[in-house]
Assembly symmetry: C2
Homo-oligomer: 347 residues x 2
Amino acid sequence: MKGIRQLADHLDISIGTVSRALNGKPDVNEETRRRVLAAAEELGYVANQSGRSLRQGETKVIGLMIASSKETVENADNFFLGVTSGLQSVFARHKLDLIMLPCPNDEDPHEYLKRMVARRIVDAMIISETQRIDRRIDLLSRAKIPFITLGRSLSASNATWIDLDFEGVAKRAVERLIARGHRRIAITVPSSEINLGYIFVEGYRHALEQHGIPFDPSLVIRVKSSEQGGYQAAHELLLLEERPTAVILIYELMAIGLYRRLMESGVMPGRDLAVIGFRDAPRSRFLQPSLTCFRMSLHDLGVKLGRMLLANMPAYAEFYSGDGRNTIWPLELVPGESDVFQVAVKA
Amino acid sequence: MKGIRQLADHLDISIGTVSRALNGKPDVNEETRRRVLAAAEELGYVANQSGRSLRQGETKVIGLMIASSKETVENADNFFLGVTSGLQSVFARHKLDLIMLPCPNDEDPHEYLKRMVARRIVDAMIISETQRIDRRIDLLSRAKIPFITLGRSLSASNATWIDLDFEGVAKRAVERLIARGHRRIAITVPSSEINLGYIFVEGYRHALEQHGIPFDPSLVIRVKSSEQGGYQAAHELLLLEERPTAVILIYELMAIGLYRRLMESGVMPGRDLAVIGFRDAPRSRFLQPSLTCFRMSLHDLGVKLGRMLLANMPAYAEFYSGDGRNTIWPLELVPGESDVFQVAVKA
DNA sequence: CTGAAAGCGCTTACAG
DNA sequence: CTGAAAGCGCTTACAG
């Protein structure tokens, strides 16, 4: 099947009528519509997207940009694939397709995005892994492409964003540890300029100060968000003069490496050092002792993300009037055995 | 910047010349070309892809279809993101972009692919997770779209495929275990109809028979390829009348759950039961005892996959004449401590 | 309810 | 070396 012309010739009607029938326009004879639909199905005709896009000025495709950096590959733990299902469940209602745009790791994300946007392959974009300063946001604003960011950014004053509740997680983790007598609480942050690290530390710092515990920069450990990073973090913890009694990890997979390094030194996680992780992932579910961490539904996050994006697109905004605001996505604490012990209070 | 028309008006030349200049055609005055390039850069002009595609009959986009099923999300372990970097390094040479097409889990993969193909969003397709019988292959053949499958299939007689060396892995694992005295060797296979499970078992069976060990169907354990599946597999192993002394896992993450279940019963992996995993992933690198498994470079696999695909595309075939053949991708054994002990040979 | 025609943004023979 | 024009496959006012 070549195109609408062939289909029209085959049915001996005009291409205009074929188009109207296929697109569900009301002013088509029902019998005609049936014939068109049947023939399209039989001959496997589907409208060429380039033709449609050119005429309509829209592609019905939404792009999700992901940085396929080595870091992301090791860490993302299928975070994006998880979010995808939620996004698609929203987009499907409007016959919008989702495509994932992996930015090559040797290409500048800003240049990559610029190219994708200019080519008009998508009608709207979702960007993620927002940096503290993220020029992509200015780019999208200027291009007047509807977009949303998964992650806050200092550049995001003219963007709508959704982000995980990093402050809330840091705060709850700190308070939970303080309640068990901890005073020296370490925290790990990513070594990159990704914005979430800054927010995480701010939440941590604020929670400490609320409880009268001074912030000690030596307890903030910058490592990669990977098992190797966890191993490294444990190594650094063990070298600290006054060893902390607890550590909060920004990424749960780090716990695997952290446990390993601790055990090598005879330090038992959950007995000698309290550990709280961030997001619970299937991988870490079998850790021993089980990891106290925070859970969320990636599917639900995807749904909200999708709704928020559509709220920013004129053609769909009416259906999602309640979804236009910036959102902090809550996480639920999953208690484990890695932080159950009490610290003896010093006399 | 609206389109080529604006840019041409701005430069006071015709759109034809602008197009030729931008596309590097030889018959353009160098000074003119410089002016056009500079103006395009300044005004941020990039050709609208729909216009190009419509005219040229190609999109310069390659699609990688992935099933975003719950299983894949939990298991894929960023396999696809890893392969992506290799693919892109090949495609970049020809200014081809890669997009990932995640099939919604409530949509039939065949229907999804049909839609994507018919819309002509991509010039060529890569499909993965091939099933034993996979109608997508017939669909792509009939649509005359260049494609390649990551994974063999019984349907693949008219397709070019690349696949991991499942037989080789099964064979080497079996032989390694036999050399250490094992006779009762269990194997896990996926519970789905994905073809690799069949190939894995065939390799296992063949290796056993070569060494005069009869194939025992009760040692083939069908479970999900996840940590939970590993847990379940261990559970079933422990229930077997004559307990096997070794197990080969088709997916390395299963080892986490398997270890856990074994330890709950006081069975020590690497001492009471030999374990060999499949692909080595960052997640399992910290297992104790360390897992004997097989390694490969996802990047290199992606490169080969990209080359093979281009070898099947008329426009690029000349550069990849040596890459057209079906390929079995080798894996390298990474010895660990999970299978080091010898089994006492029965008198 | 249907057909004929315009035009979306490009690229590319064709003329000059 | 450049311009004018055709046409890729659609959708959509417009006329009837």
